[in-house]
């Protein structure tokens, strides 16, 4: 049996395009053939999880049934009543599979959970977000089929971008007019070729050619402290991470566009950020916005409403640290992911303090091209350092294992 890793090589796009052409002809003529879209999506999802990956496929099926029951069950309940504990229960149960997958390797090094499959975190975000919007009374209906079509939306199933149900449904239930659709196809073509350059050229250059060489140099001659090859690893790995993930995201957005769905973009020139807050508005945007809307803002809301802290500044600092720590844990229950989250949490607290200070002393602090360049330089280096931590290479260097 063949197994096709999503966007794994340029050939994959040929297969995808062949599958999507009938759908595109339909959209061009103002029809969305849902049954065809579902069928072709299922074929490609099957090809991601068949053959040697069949166990992941079984886990995916189990996960989908579980989430369907949780989201559908909570909606049925929410129509009648709104007890907060039932909400907490539904929330917790819907993230249980993800918790198992994240915690198993931490307890049992070298083992992976049987519940795991590629993309589980991204699918969990989609369904947990729905449960929270149901609690808020913003989502009022559960459509058994539309839920599945949203959860399993094929272009973004493995690694996002993370779309929101209501936004997605708006797109899905209509067909873009011809002029707009042609524009979307043009963008898609552009994104695919840009993605080729990012993922198959630049990410390959940095990730496959440069990083391993620099890592070997560091391990052999660099010692455990500061060394120039280690600085090289930091920059090369950061570039690899960006081009690999941004390239993948461009593919996912492009294929969504071909299917007439405007999946949100994930990156917006993150290395041009002026400060850390700016960075999180440009880097892995759908993830950071998800955390902003479903973790940070809710936490701030609860803390301010219940007047837990007197000072607004304390509220936002606690929320920053908590938000980024959760994000760290989500990446994996490993010291360097958690440290990465904490570092960014503290970074945001410091950044906010600086912004307040700057606002207060607007007249006495110079602002010109040079200070802007310095701000970008500083942010870029802070971010690259955090990526070095994130890469796990320091663990390899200091502890001998990832």
């Amino acid at each position: 049996m063949i197994n096709l890793e999503p966007y794994g090589n340029p050939q994959y796009f040929v297969y995808l395009l062949i599958g999507l052409i009938p759908l595109m002809i339909g959209l061009y003529h103002g029809h969305r053939w849902r049954w065809y879209q579902s069928a072709v999506s299922l074929v490609f999802i099957f090809l991601m999880f068949d053959s040697q990956k069949w166990q992941q496929g079984v886990a995916l099926i189990g996960f989908v049934i579980w989430e369907w029951l949780m989201v559908g069950g909570y909606m049925a309940y929410r129509k009648k009543a709104n007890n907060r504990w039932i909400f907490y229960g539904a929330f917790l149960l819907s993230i249980v599979p993800l918790l198992f997958v994240k915690i198993t390797p931490a307890i049992n090094p070298g083992h992976t959970s049987l519940f795991g499959f590629l993309g589980i975190s991204y699918l969990t975000f989609r369904s947990v977000g729905m449960i929270m919007e149901m609690r808020d009374g913003i989502i009022k209906e559960f459509h058994p089929m539309l839920f599945l079509e949203f959860l399993l939306f094929m272009p973004t199933i493995s690694s996002g971008p993370i779309d929101r149900y209501r936004r997605w449904l708006d797109d899905y239930q209509k067909v873009p007019d011809r002029e707009k659709y042609v524009g979307m196809i043009e963008k898609a073509v552009h994104y695919i070729f840009l993605g080729f350059m990012y993922k198959f050229l630049l990410a390959y250059l940095f990730g496959t050619m440069l990083v391993p060489k620099l890592e070997t140099l560091t391990l052999r001659y660099g010692g455990t402290g500061f060394s120039w090859p280690l600085v090289g690893v930091m920059y090369a790995w950061s570039m690899y991470l960006f081009f690999d993930f941004a390239g993948y995201s461009l593919f996912a957005v492009a294929i969504s566009y071909l299917m007439g769905i405007e999946t949100p973009m994930n990156f917006n020139q993150p290395f041009r950020s002026h400060n850390l807050k700016d960075f999180w508005n440009r880097w892995h945007m759908t993830l950071s916005f998800w955390f902003r809307d479903f973790v940070f803002m809710r936490l701030v809301f609860a803390m301010m409403k219940n007047k837990i802290f007197k000072s607004r500044v304390t509220v936002s600092n606690v929320a920053y640290i908590f938000n980024m720590l959760i994000m760290g844990f989500w990446h994996g229950v490993t010291w360097y992911y958690i440290a990465y989250g904490l570092l960014h949490g503290v970074g945001l607290v410091v950044n906010d303090w600086w912004l307040r200070f700057k606002k207060k002393h607007r007249e006495s602090i110079p602002h010109n091209k040079l200070t802007e360049a310095f701000a970008i330089f500083l942010t870029f280096n802070f971010v690259c350092f955090s990526f070095l931590l994130f890469s796990g290479f320091l663990s390899k260097l200091w502890l001998g294992h990832y």
Binding site: D136, I138, K277, M297, F301, M304
Partner: protein
Amino acid sequence: MDVKETVISILNDLTGNDVSEDMDTNLFDSGLMDSMGSVQLLLELQSQLGVNVPVSEFVRSEWDTPNKIVTKVEGLVD
């Protein structure tokens, strides 16, 4: 005070600026508002106008200028 004036006074308090000077300025792009400010806005709307806006209702692109916010809130009061 009518709804518009109340919203403007809330925004003035939150941003430390007089937002009525340019009602179409993008509050987020200009750095006057952030997620923290958004939540405070929602809480103030609740306490001063009795308007309940859940956090999930707050889609940034629909709440990013004083004019848009006024229109939103006016719609919710009626």
